[in-house]
């Protein structure tokens, strides 16, 4: 599968199979990411979401299939906050400057770089935190620091692994609004999430993944009982609320073993 110039594809995965050691995590995956898209990859644990993100980012090579990227495509990756070493001695300013690895080689930031860092931090409402250690921030501020680091690299495509994992509703809204705003300014975003209702249902495009692509399209087209059951291997119902699909667990009490019933 090649890039479609008219649709302004940024990258395309064609027949990608890959994994770790001899175990295939992704099997025959096809997908394209276009300019200005905002895409959510959903699926159960072990479905290959992070692996797909790594293949897109280029940090994992497929065993079979091809990954085609637009020449000169700049990508930035925001890892799961759980993987960050919060004890590492790095201030917000130092962390953000890391993404400027090409060009200027001396350790300290140039005047222009200092101004750019100040701008990007201010645009994310963390301008006054530049000299703070990354551990001294709230969850939302920490997430913003890593988004700021990604943005300073001036990417065309932002890849985010579980940006709202383990955060409360307020912070989830905060992150979603921020990403919406960045996308509106022209940045293509691909994120992985477990959160079907809080995140995925709000995105223009969802990819349901469970080792291979089960569904790909707008939430209304993808968040269906059939696609979700094939993705999650469990019974789920889809309701309509305020014009948006809402996924609910269709767990039934008769599934509870008889021995447990008296305890419920």
């Amino acid at each position: 599968m090649s890039l479609d110039r008219e649709r302004e594809d940024l990258l395309a995965l064609a027949g990608v199979t890959c994994g770790y050691s001899s175990e295939a995590v992704l099997v025959d995956v096809d997908l394209q990411i276009r300019r200005r898209e905002f895409v959510g990859i959903v699926g159960p644990s072990g479905a290959g979401k992070t692996t797909a993100l790594r293949v897109i980012a280029g940090s994992l090579r497929p065993a079979a299939g091809t990954v085609t990227r637009r020449p000169g495509l700049r990508m930035a990756y925001v890892p799961q906050v759980e993987t960050i070493n919060w004890s590492f001695p790095v201030t917000v300013r130092e962390c953000v400057l890391m993404s400027r690895v090409s060009g200027r080689r001396v350790p300290w930031a140039s005047r222009a770089e200092r101004a750019q860092i100040a701008d990007v931090l201010a645009s994310l409402d963390i301008g006054e935190l530049a000299d703070r250690h990354i551990r001294e921030l709230s969850g939302g501020q920490q997430q913003r620091v890593f988004i700021a680091r990604a943005l300073l690299g001036e990417p065309d495509l932002l890849l985010m692994d579980e940006p709202t994992s383990g955060v409360d509703v307020r912070l989830r809204h905060e992150v979603l609004h921020l990403l919406d705003d960045l996308n509106a300014r022209g940045l293509a975003i691909v994120l992985t999430t477990h959160d079907l209702n809080g995140i995925a249902a709000h995105l223009p495009r969802i990819i349901c993944l469970n080792r291979s692509v089960i569904g790909d399209g707008a939430p209304h087209d993808v968040l269906t009982t059939d696609v979700l059951e094939r993705t999650y291997g469990a019974s789920l119902q889809v309701l309509e609320h305020g014009g948006m699909p809402v996924v609910v667990d269709s767990y039934r009490r008769e599934h509870v073993p008889r021995a447990l019933e008296n305890h419920l």
């Binding site: 692996t51 940090s59 993987t83 960050i84 070493n85 993404s99 690895v101 350790p107």
Partner: protein
């Protein structure tokens, strides 16, 4: 009193030893920051033992010590780096096999053929006796190379140390950065072996970085502080070595350990909280799903 303190400076071997110890302290302090933050302390410890095998072989074969042990050290460093990155077996197990086997080989060679040239004890525990101009040149060259690497690859090294996977995506050749760091580490160990001894080099790598971490939350300041602390420990330790008539390696390390204890007490809970993280292994990559 002053005369007594200045007396050792009359001797050339002491002046050479002092220059080497001060530069070795600074070098190990700077490289130690990366070693500690990448969770490579065991690699530093193991590599110094591995180089001992090269030291023994070059000593017995009559080839230049720096060349023989240098080639051996770089080969061991790259081997360890390769095994660590491939994750075929646990990196600690791989390092244990490669480095202790090399150290054991060195001991066996000395046991079979006896020592020739450089002193066995000096290699193990360090000595200011026998520090010559070639040692001063060697440490100067390694300092220059390490300084150039840190200065010109500062951002890429920091990114690789903090977040290797994201650095990779951002275009940093993290494999090359790791290999360069290992080669410089091998060179640092080689150049400081005469003064510090293979059994104590790991302490010179770890302690200044640990002290610096207790004093700051900034990477740049930690790098500067660790370099300064390492050089002060080398200078003071070498002087103490002469006046107390104790081998240079132990006095330098004990000086650093004393400074660590003092900073640990003075910085209190803040310092302890900062330093707590550096004993942890490098950040784990999230289990991919």
């Amino acid at each position: 009193m002053i005369d007594e303190l200045l007396r050792p400076f009359e001797f050339e071997f002491f002046r050479n030893g002092l220059i080497v110890a001060t530069m070795a302290g600074a070098l190990c302090g700077a490289i130690g920051v990366y070693v500690v933050l990448k969770g490579m302390s065991y690699i530093g410890h193991g590599l110094s033992h591995a180089i001992f095998g090269g030291f023994a072989a070059s000593s017995l074969l009559g080839i230049n010590f720096l060349l023989g042990a240098g080639v051996w050290g770089v080969a061991s460093a790259l081997m360890i780096n390769g095994v660590t990155r491939r994750r075929v077996i646990g990196s600690d197990a791989a390092i244990g096999v490669i480095t202790t086997a090399s150290f054991a080989l060195g001991l066996a060679l000395f046991a079979l053929f006896g020592t020739a040239g450089r002193s066995f004890d000096a290699a193990l525990f360090g000595s200011i006796l026998g520090v010559g101009t070639d040692d001063v040149i060697a440490i100067f060259v390694v300092c220059l190379l390490a300084g150039a690497l840190i200065f010109l690859r500062y951002r890429a090294l920091l990114f690789t140390t903090f977040d290797p996977e994201v650095a990779d995506v951002a275009g940093v050749n993290t494999a090359r950065m790791d290999a360069l760091l290992m080669v410089i580490l091998a060179g640092s160990i080689l150049a400081t072996m005469q003064v510090l001894g293979v059994t104590l080099i790991a302490a010179a790598l770890v302690i200044p970085a640990a002290i610096a971490r207790m004093l700051t939350n900034s990477f740049a300041r930690m790098l500067q502080l660790a370099t300064a602390i390492g050089s002060v420990c080398g200078f003071v330790g070498m002087n103490l070595s002469y006046h107390l008539d104790i081998q240079s390696g132990p006095t330098i390390v004990l000086t650093a350990a004393t400074m660590f204890a003092a900073v640990f007490v003075v910085t209190g809970a803040t310092g302890r909280r900062r330093a707590a993280g550096i004993t942890a292994p490098a950040p784990l990559v999230a289990r991919p799903d």
